[in-house]
Symmetry: C2
Subunit: 229 residues, 2 copies
DNA sequence: AAGTGGTCTAGACCACTGA
DNA sequence: CAGTGGTCTAGACCACTTG
C-alpha cells in the first residue's frame, strides 16, 4: 500500500482490499483509523471514508464508531443480483416472448395467502394464473394473488393483453419486496402446464411486494426444469 | 417534497422516493438536476448526490452525465442478500451444528469441473464430499473440488476436524465469487446421504470462487428438502 | 461545446460506543 | 468522556454524453 499518483476512492478501496488479501491486515485485526490512512495515502479523509464504507457494504470489513475498522473474519458472500423482468429475461436470450392467461378468479384467498397479504379476513383478492413462454415453449408458470384492497383497479384490467406483472410494475410501484427460493417437484397440473414430466424438479420463486404497509401482491413462480438463476 | 427541518441524505432519499411513488415524478420522466433539488431542499449538492446515488443503486432511478436523472420505468428488483456461513446459518436457528467428512480424493477432475476451475489439463485437484448437520439431521450435502495449483496447503489439512469451507474462508480469502441456484431431484446416493426419499426435490447451490484470476474452489451444495433461501 | 453527474478537498460538527 | 466513524458544507475540477 503506497502513496503513489492520484488516489481516487476506488484506488483506495483496491489498495486496502489488496492489503487484506495478501495478509498485511489479518482477519479480525484493526485497521488504522481513517485519518491515518488518509495521511499515509495522501488524500482527504472523506475519500478514505468512501472507500471503507464500500468495503463494509461488501462485507469485507466491519466499522464501528469508537471501535474502529476491523477485517471481518468471515468475508460474507453478499450476493447481489437483479431479478430481471420475465419479458426482458426471455428476450435477452434472443427468443420470442409470449404470455398466456390461464385463469382469473375473484374470491377470498385461503388462509396461507391471506396471511401473506396481511388480510384481516374480509378482504377479497384476485387470483391469476399465467404462463410465460419462450419461443412458444413454457418458461415460467405463475400463480398470483392480488390484493383488491390495495389495487382495486386491477379488477377492470384486461389481463389477457398485458401480464399482471407488467401492469403492476408500471402502475403500482412498490416500496418493499421479499423473495424466497426453493425447490419442488411438478404436480400433475403443473407438469401439464409446463409441459414437463410429473415429478420433475422445479425451481420456485415466491415474491411478495408492499407499498408502504399495504401488501400489493404475492406470487409463486415455477420455472421449467433446467432453469438456473 | 418540502424543505422543512434538517435534511440528511436519508431524508432526501425518502422524499424523492416518496415523490416517485405518489406520481409526482412519473416513470421515465426526468428529475430536476441535483443542484436544483439541493436548492429546493435547502441542502448541499453533495447531500443530494448521495441520496440520488443510493436510489440509483437500488434501481429506482437512472443517472447519466449530461442526460440527467430519470425515473426507471422498470424498478428492477435488485435482490441483495447475504449467503450465510453454513455453521452460522444452523446455529442461528438455535440448533447444534455438526459436520462430517464423507470422502477425500486426490486426482484429476473431470472436464466439466476442470473447466470451472480453469485448469489447463495438468492440474490435479482435491475432491471433498462432506455433510453439514443440524441437530444430527442432514442439512447440506456438499461436493467440492479444490484447486491444488492455487491452494497446495490444503493437501496437509485435516478436514475431519475443520470443514474445507471454514478453512478456506479463514486462510484463502477470495476476491471474486459466482453463484448459481437451481433445482434437482435426489439420486440414490444423494438420498441416502441426506436421509430423504429418492426423487425428493433438492435446492442446489453452485459456487466458484477466485483469488484474482486463479480459481480456488468450486462446490455444489444440495440442501435437504424444505430448505428456503 | 455545453450541461450534468462524479469525485475530491478541507474543515466542521454530530452520534455512537467502548474504556 | 474521549475516540472514531458518519454526515454536512461550499467550492472546485473532471469526465462523460448528448445536442
Amino acid at each position: 500500500m503506497s502513496a503513489a499518483g492520484r488516489m481516487g476512492w476506488r484506488t483506495v478501496r483496491a489498495q486496502v482490499h489488496a492489503a487484506i488479501l495478501d495478509g498485511t491486515f489479518a482477519p479480525g485485526q484493526k485497521l488504522p483509523r481513517d485519518s491515518d490512512l488518509a495521511a499515509r495515502l495522501n488524500c482527504a479523509r472523506s475519500t478514505v471514508q468512501r472507500a471503507m464504507q464500500d468495503l463494509a457494504r461488501g462485507g469485507i470489513v466491519e466499522r464501528r464508531r469508537k471501535g474502529g475498522t476491523r477485517v471481518r473474519p468471515d468475508p460474507v458472500p453478499r450476493a447481489s443480483f437483479d431479478i430481471p423482468i420475465v419479458r426482458a429475461e426471455v428476450e435477452a436470450t434472443g427468443a420470442a416472448y409470449g404470455y398466456r392467461l390461464l385463469s382469473r378468479v375473484l374470491g377470498p384467498p385461503p388462509p396461507s395467502i391471506a396471511h401473506r397479504l396481511s388480510h384481516t379476513g374480509d378482504g377479497a383478492a384476485l387470483r391469476v394464473e399465467a404462463l410465460h413462454l419462450e419461443d412458444d415453449r413454457p418458461y415460467l408458470l405463475e400463480d398470483r394473488w392480488i390484493s383488491l384492497a390495495t389495487v382495486p383497479e386491477i379488477r377492470d384490467i384486461d389481463l389477457t393483453a398485458i401480464s399482471a406483472n407488467e401492469w403492476l410494475v408500471q402502475n403500482r410501484p412498490y416500496s418493499r419486496c421479499k423473495m424466497e427460493f426453493s425447490a419442488t417437484v411438478a404436480t400433475d397440473a403443473q407438469a401439464a402446464r409446463l409441459g414437463c414430466a410429473v415429478g420433475a424438479p422445479l425451481f420456485a420463486m415466491d415474491r411478495t411486494t408492499w407499498r408502504d404497509a399495504s401488501a400489493i401482491t404475492t406470487v409463486t413462480a415455477l420455472a421449467a426444469p433446467g432453469y438456473r438463476l
